[in-house]
């Protein structure tokens, strides 16, 4: 086993320790690497910035708890921007765990802005079936969600009296860790011309570029990087911005792994 073979068959745990250092050290020390805004995130920001007070955004939490670190910073940044412009938020979820997270997240951020549930924002709760729910909201939200998450009748909520279906919703944001936003595009945008923004984990980002190119979605926020860009656009130093330092360094470590791995593969084979 010459040197390169040993390198190539390095124990996994050594690599794991290097990863923890690659992520942990930048978290402890503050580097503050600059972040450039990509056009897709700017389009989302500009669209929300262009809305008038009182206009309504539907935020759907379509993800599980496993991808929290990517989903929460996005939800925080978008909600802060929307509430700072006195927009109304209608929250819902197409995933059970997403409903638990979305409900707490909206109430926490709404609390910071002194917004009142039922007037400035509402959380409708969870519906399991994607196609049925998204199609159902096209005819009447009250029929799909007769009651909100606290069990109050929809007709009794002042905000919901002005919201019958997609016609009254100015923007739909699907915060998701899988291809649920494609269902929003296929059913809400295609049939009812609703404006869709996928706020997705970085894993799903490349799936949505064709829809951005054909204007079926108006913009996209992808991964911790997208959240960090949005935080920069609304001028706050949120958790995503801090995470990006560790992200930058960790990526250099992984690129290093690829280089060394390939070097060992080629030199090991040469003998």
């Amino acid at each position: 086993m010459d040197f390169w073979d040993k390198i190539r068959h390095l124990d996994r745990r050594v690599i794991f320790i290097l990863m923890v250092l690659g992520v942990g050290i930048p978290l402890v020390t503050r580097i503050g690497l600059p972040i450039r805004i990509t056009p897709d995130v700017r389009r989302v920001y500009d669209f929300i910035e262009g809305l008038n007070p009182g206009e309504i955004i539907l935020v759907s939490y379509d993800h599980d708890t496993g991808t929290l670190p990517e989903m929460i910073p996005m939800s925080d940044a978008i909600l802060r921007h929307a509430f700072s412009k006195d927009l109304k938020i209608v929250g819902m979820a197409l995933r059970a765990e997403g409903s638990g997270i979305g409900r707490q997240n909206i109430r926490r951020i709404a609390g910071e802005f002194g917004k009142e549930e039922g007037i400035d924002f509402v959380f409708l709760g969870y519906r399991p079936e994607l196609t049925a729910t998204i199609l159902g909201l096209g005819s009447s939200i009250g029929r799909v969600f007769p009651k909100d998450d606290r069990g109050f009748l929809i007709e009794k909520l002042p905000l919901m009296q002005k919201v019958l279906n997609y016609g009254d919703i100015d923007l739909v944001i699907s915060i998701s860790d899988d291809d649920t936003p494609v269902y929003w595009i296929n059913y809400a945008n295609a049939r009812f011309q609703a404006k869709i923004v996928p706020a997705v984990t970085a894993v799903m980002a490349t799936t949505f570029f064709p829809f951005l190119n054909s204007h079926q979605a108006i913009g996209m926020v992808a991964g911790l990087k997208g959240a960090a860009e949005y935080e920069k656009l609304i001028g706050i130093s949120g958790s995503a911005g801090r995470g990006m330092d560790a992200q930058s360094i960790a990526h250099l470590v992984v690129i290093g792994f690829i280089a060394v791995g390939n070097l060992a593969y080629f030199l090991g084979r040469k003998k």
């Binding site: 690599i15 972040i35 049925a132 005819s139 064709p210 930058s248 250099l252 690829i258 390939n262």
Partner: protein, 205 residues
């Protein structure tokens, strides 16, 4: 009868939903709302049937003392405990149900997913060989995106522009080609299901 009746039901509801897309009238959207309600309730029931099936699977493994039955016992007990707490004390913010969600369920689920970062790293080191032309192109694209979007390269002019260009042009075109292929395939399979030609969902008779 056991197979033909479900096929007729599938045909009827499939054709109605397909035709409904082209008919904007009030009656048509009422029909759609009715069917979507029914589909929702069937799906929710299927979820609960799946859960009962899972509990049955764990119970059998415990009764048979098959290896690792202790872990099946843990799953059943925690499932029943969580369900009891939820039904008995409600699931509003601040309830014990949400406490278990925030301090036990969510952190563990997030940790399981974060294991992937370690596996990606070890895979990048040990499994990522540029063994042929395709793999070289793939590796180049991977490194360009990682460096240009998520890392230091993002703030260096040429790198981030190249990365954004790759995402919006060549990568997007290939993804669009896959979409068209998947779209045609899904339409074909859905038509076969509605017309009763494709019956695997009914299971072996």
């Amino acid at each position: 009868m056991r197979r033909s009746f479900p096929i007729i039901v599938c045909f009827a509801f499939g054709i109605v939903m397909l035709a409904q897309f082209f008919i904007p009238s009030g009656f048509s959207s009422n029909v759609r709302s009715e069917i979507t309600d029914w589909a929702q309730i069937i799906y929710a029931s299927a979820l609960i049937v799946g859960i009962v099936g899972l509990m049955k699977y764990h119970a059998i493994r415990i009764s048979r003392r098959s290896d690792g039955w202790f872990y099946n016992l843990i799953t059943i007990l925690s499932l029943v405990f969580m369900a009891f707490i939820g039904f008995a004390f409600g699931r509003m913010d601040g309830s014990p149900f949400m406490w278990l969600f925030n301090y036990m369920m969510a952190p563990m689920q997030a940790s399981v997913f974060s294991l992937l970062a370690f596996f990606v790293a070890s895979a990048a080191y040990r499994g990522f060989q540029a063994r042929n032309a395709e793999a070289v192109l793939l590796l180049a694209s991977t490194v360009f995106i990682m460096f240009g979007i998520a890392s230091v390269g993002n703030s260096i002019r040429p790198f981030s522009d190249i990365a954004v260009w790759i995402l919006n042009n060549p990568s997007m075109a290939a993804r669009r080609g896959i979409f068209i292929g998947v779209g045609l395939g899904t339409i074909a399979v859905s038509l076969r299901v509605i017309l009763g030609v494709e019956r695997t969902y009914l299971g072996k008779e």
